[in-house]
């Protein structure tokens, strides 16, 4: 951790917050506080400079226009690149995931991404809307992904990243893989409050940020019930 408190930055909530993206910020802050960690939360709007010294940066979903604008401003600002160079954690969701790559499509044109992850995104033949599930890369040691996706993009991974998950329901990147990660950067098409259904993923980000190998367990009764219910719903929908 950079200072005595865990600093979490939500990048551009004025642009990149469409589907309850605030949830990821609230969940990380609460899970850290429940472990007795002091937390400092910063919401940085797109007309403000991005501090380069925070521990975790969150990028949410957004419509095409705000996504393109967000990428431009982040490239001009440079703060996120400096933070990544210093080992900060980045978690990108949906549009925020796409703009971590080299390029993405918004409003019919190819836009330059932040080039923090080796991936590029374009438009798919159909919009991917619905439950998204899959086994997460075993090296990350977290249980299967459970989420909801709503995007028109398809994402192609380069050799510099690993897929976050193998898709068992939904589309994700391309119907086969979902999301991507490298070092302490992680992106997913599981949109909005993705961590609500994936508390283990939230703890993974906290472990990356703090360097802790293990965190004291929390009572995740309700999240577990939610995951079980969603798994059953996905299975029921898959039955002929």
């Amino acid at each position: 951790m950079s200072t005595e408190s865990l600093r979490i930055v939500w990048i551009y909530p004025d642009l990149l917050s469409t589907y309850g993206d605030r949830g990821n910020l609230l969940i990380l802050a609460r899970r850290a506080q429940q472990r007795g960690m002091p937390v400092e939360v910063l919401e940085v709007r797109s007309d403000q400079r991005l501090p380069a010294t925070a521990d975790i940066y969150l990028l949410g979903g957004g419509e095409d226009g705000p996504q393109a604008l967000g990428a431009q401003r982040l490239l001009a600002d440079g703060g996120l690149h400096r933070a990544v160079a210093q080992g900060s954690v980045v978690f990108g969701v949906c549009a925020g995931y796409q703009l971590l790559g080299t390029s993405f499509f918004a409003k019919g044109t190819r836009c330059a991404g932040l080039e923090l992850l080796d991936l590029s995104s374009d438009r798919g033949p159909t919009r991917a809307v619905g439950e998204l599930a899959g086994e997460i890369d075993p090296r990350l040691g977290v249980p299967p992904l459970s989420g909801f996706e709503n995007h028109g993009g398809r994402t192609h991974l380069g050799p510099g990243v690993s897929p976050l998950a193998r898709v068992s329901a939904g589309i994700g990147n391309d119907g086969v893989t979902e999301g991507a990660w490298r070092g302490k950067l992680l992106g997913t098409y599981s949109h909005g409050p993705a961590l609500a259904r994936n508390p283990a993923l939230a703890d993974l980000l906290l472990r990356w940020a703090t360097g802790a190998h293990q965190l004291p367990p929390l009572d995740d009764t309700w999240a577990e019930r939610l995951r079980t219910e969603r798994r059953a719903a996905v299975a029921a929908a898959a039955r002929p």
């Binding site: 589907y19 969940i27 797109s46 809307v129 709503n150 309700w222």
Partner: protein, 415 residues
């Protein structure tokens, strides 16, 4: 009316009556659907000869439609789709059922505004607000504002009554004039109904710059878009009209949001020549609207139903609800939208200190949200269990669309 339209209209009424008699619903959609199959222009035929107001927006349209119909009723009979069936099938059914009326006030789903403007050629259109709602299938907010704006460019004769507090609505209601093409902007009367929800209007729809806010004022930092002066405003427990006269408004509906809806209704009626002083007493006749705000006494509990479909309307519901035990019910079926992400756009902190119960198909999504929010709650499997779990007295029920209908069915389809 052409013969085909007459036949279609008559069949439509019969189907609606059959649907109601069979207990299959309000009959407000099926009748219109069959009528439109027989005559696709039926809505236009049924609209001809009526002075019509359309009411659209993300929230408050059912209630504002009911209040506006009551206010316009000063002048004569008003046809209206008062069951909240707000797509062309519902409009067709409502007009066919009402027979010949000089006036109509129609609630319109925001996605259908362009189509219904075309078919009904209204005298007035009221634009209430635009915010995120069922994003897994609905248009995103900026796109919706663009559609409204494009529709108004084609109907510059319509008189617009619009919310000065919502930047998206203001932008939609003021398409640019194009004198070379003979296009002039529509006439707009602005009302101020307040807006608790700001999270969909931080970015200017015109130029992409940041929108600043201070008190009730807002302005774009990059272009001339700013809050227009409102001619109709809420002040204390009444409404100020454009002449500066204040009218006390006594409603049977709770909350400041409904005072705003009343101001809108008075502004709509004024476009037909109704004086607010004549209309204001009629607003008191509106009680519950398709079950919304309905109160039912059961087992010593006074149960009040509040509908909340999206983040903006949840904030309004918390404002309306009494400090009393509260049941929250969430579904995510087709009419609700399949995505529950929006729960994290709502701050449930106002419920701290109240006894909170949760139920519905997606109660676990809500449980996780409340847990993160630090709001203690109790999960119940059924509505009856919730009623037994609270002490005698008021039980507030806040539910989203199909969850609301489920509970309404338990209470014998209360209106």
């Amino acid at each position: 009316m052409p013969l085909r339209a007459k036949v279609a209209s008559s069949v439509s009424r019969t189907a609606a009556a059959l649907s109601r008699a069979a207990g299959r619903g309000d009959g407000s959609v099926i009748g219109g659907w069959i009528g439109l199959k027989i005559d696709p222009d039926l809505l236009a035929h049924l609209s001809a000869g009526r002075a019509i107001a359309l009411v659209s927006g993300t929230n408050g349209k059912t209630t504002t439609t009911r209040l506006s119909a009551a206010a316009v009723g000063v002048l004569g009979r008003v046809a209206t789709n008062s069951f909240g069936a707000n797509m062309p099938t519902g409009h067709t059914s409502a007009l066919a059922k009402a027979g010949s009326t000089p006036y109509a006030v129609l609630e319109v789903d925001e996605h259908y505004l362009a189509q219904v403007l075309e078919a009904t050629e209204p005298h007035v259109v009221a634009l209430l607000n635009l915010s995120r709602d069922q994003l897994d299938r609905a248009k995103e907010v900026a796109m919706m504002a663009q559609l409204w704006r494009a529709a108004l460019v084609r109907h510059t004769d319509v008189r617009v009554v619009a919310n000065a507090d919502d930047p998206m609505v203001v932008w939609a209601a003021t398409p640019p004039a194009d004198p070379a093409q003979g296009v002039r902007p529509p006439h707009v009367t602005w009302f101020s109904a307040g807006q608790r929800w700001h999270d969909d209007s931080w970015v200017c729809p015109e130029c992409g710059s940041t929108i600043q806010r201070s008190g009730e004022q807002w302005w774009c930092t990059g272009c001339p878009l700013r809050r227009p002066d409102a001619q109709w405003t809420v002040e204390d427990d009444g409404v100020l009209d454009p002449t500066g006269a204040w009218h006390k408004v006594t409603l049977q509906l709770p909350g400041k949001v409904n005072l705003g809806n009343a101001a809108t209704a008075l502004a709509v009626a004024a476009e037909f020549g109704v004086r607010p002083v004549d209309a204001v007493s009629r607003l008191h006749t509106v009680t519950s609207v398709a079950g919304r705000y309905a109160q039912v006494d059961r087992d010593g509990r006074n149960i009040r139903l509040l509908l909340a479909k999206n983040p903006a309307s949840w904030l309004e519901a918390f404002d309306m609800a009494d400090e009393a035990p509260t049941l929250l019910s969430i579904n995510a079926r087709d009419p609700d939208g399949l995505d529950t992400s929006w729960l994290f756009d709502v701050d449930f902190a106002p419920l701290r200190g109240r006894q909170v119960l949760i139920t519905g198909d997606r109660a676990y999504d809500l449980a996780v949200r409340l847990d993160v929010n630090g709001v203690p709650f109790q999960h119940v499997r059924a509505f009856g269990e919730a009623v037994r779990a609270v002490p005698p007295g008021r039980l507030e029920v806040i539910a989203n669309y199909t969850a609301f209908q489920d509970i309404r069915a338990e209470l014998d389809r209360v209106n």
